[in-house]
Amino acid sequence: MRTVFDKLGLVRWLTDPLAIPFMQRALLATLLLAVAAGLLGTWVVLRRLAFFAHAAGTATFPGLVVAGPWGLAAPIAALGAGLGFAGLLARMTRRGTTSADAATGLLLTAALALGTILASDVYESGTAVDRLLFGTLLGLGDGDIALAAAAALAAVIATAALGRTWLATGFDPAGAPALGVRAARGDRLLLALLALTVVAVLPAVGALLVSTLLVVPAATARLLTGALAPLLAGAVALAAAEGLGGLLLAYHLDLPPGPAIAVIGGGVFALVALASSKRQTVS
């Protein structure tokens, strides 16, 4: 069997790139981010926070643009911009006159526009804009890897420690406090962890493609299973597989890795959705 694959060149197509140090580094980052984004992404999808997560990622763009000129570490600037987004969102929706999704859409657009103006007319960021928006998985530094590892570790610990709280609160928000679970504290920790994961994912896939790892794999796994444990495992596995696929595609076809992962993730989701709808029609 191996001989056949060798003849086709498939094995070498898969393994040769991974012998190169910068690809090994990218693979390590992908696997760490798959754990963080797959686990957190499951809760993001279950709690219907996908649009919020996407917007929070995009909202970091102006922060990333000013980080260099202002001499700030990129994760700190991104976190600052993300917290600003969350604060404005809370303020806009406090009175109930503006719905959360409308306010999120408005802030997302404003952040993108502000970042673009800052990048093009104020700081003349040039080609760096592509990197900020779509990431650079093939050029991650030690700090980026360390952040990815921290996010993965935090996601594993939090899912083990807070999974029950998040499950009960998401299932029945009104009834959860009466079960004795600390629903409000659980929600605050979920949002804090989401912020950490978004910041960790940014260097790899950029401000615009955070959902590629954080939402798409979990949303795809959601179509495949109705139980929590397989959902968590499936989201991590899909994020890792789609990340690896995107890396290889990027290497061989000279594509940017972030968009390559996004295309694969979107394609897998479409195929699974199609198969699920056909299965439902048959049954």
Partner: protein
């Protein structure tokens, strides 16, 4: 917990309770009643009449503005099944097990004893064979019974049931009535928020709320035309059927 100990332990005392949401106007005023072990109390009132406010005050989620609330025994809330996320990846057993979450520290796994309690609770509500079924795939009545099972796993002495018969078919309604009768017989206290005046006549006590307490007592004495009109105002039409008034509501939920 045994039936005898539940009877000895359970009870609710509410004295001159007023409650509000933050700095908003008072949502519920002047509520005074006592329910002892084995009593089922129908909590009647229109939407916005204060049923949810009373429940939240009893659960300790809402500070009393004035007055006091005393609950003897563990208290549990059984929400309307429609308020739950039906698309969530949880089975009937998973939902019943949520009743053990409050007593399980974050660093511990759910114990085998709690798993056995959850299975026993599902058996009690006659859903042992549906333990592995996804909650959202169950009928409305079955979902309501699973939520009651969750309260049983909490080992609740006092159960607050939020319109347990809403959206439930006749067969399930009878099944739920049977389960509630069993819980009463064990000495647990049941507070049942409902819009169904006729059904409320079958419980031990009735508490009528319309922003304030209108009346409390045995249904036969309490549910007079004047009390019902005071509770529902123009939401209700009274028909004289000889021995008692029959209430027909313009709308119900």
């Amino acid at each position: 917990m045994s039936a005898a100990s539940a009877a000895a332990a359970s009870g609710v005392q509410v004295q001159d309770l007023s409650a509000s949401y933050g700095s908003a106007a008072i949502a519920l005023r002047e509520v005074t009643f006592t329910a002892t072990g084995g009593q089922a109390v129908a909590v009647l009132g229109p939407n916005g009449g204060g049923k949810t406010t009373l429940f939240r005050a009893l659960l300790g989620e809402l500070e009393a503005t004035t007055g006091s609330v005393t609950v003897h025994g563990t208290i549990a809330y059984v929400p309307q099944t429609e308020r739950s996320r039906l698309d969530f990846p949880v089975s009937a057993l998973d939902v019943a097990l949520m009743g053990a979450y409050g007593r399980t520290p974050w660093f511990r796994r759910i114990t085998a004893g709690d798993r056995a309690a959850a299975r026993a609770a599902l058996e009690r509500v006659d859903l042992a064979d549906r333990a592995g079924t996804r909650f959202g795939a169950l009928s409305g009545g079955q979902r309501q019974r699973v939520l009651i099972a969750r309260a049983l796993v909490q080992d609740a002495h006092v159960l607050l049931l939020d319109e347990p018969f809403a959206g439930v078919d006749r067969t399930s309604e009878e099944a739920i009535m049977g389960i509630l009768a069993g819980l009463r017989a064990e000495g647990r206290v049941l507070l049942i928020a409902t819009h169904d005046v006729e059904q409320a006549r079958g419980w031990d006590r009735v508490l009528c709320l319309a922003g304030a307490q209108i009346a409390y007592g045995p249904p036969a004495e309490t549910l007079t035309n004047a009390v019902l009109e005071g509770t529902y105002g123009e939401e209700i039409v009274m028909l004289d059927c000889g021995h008692r008034a029959v209430a027909i509501q313009h709308h119900s939920h």
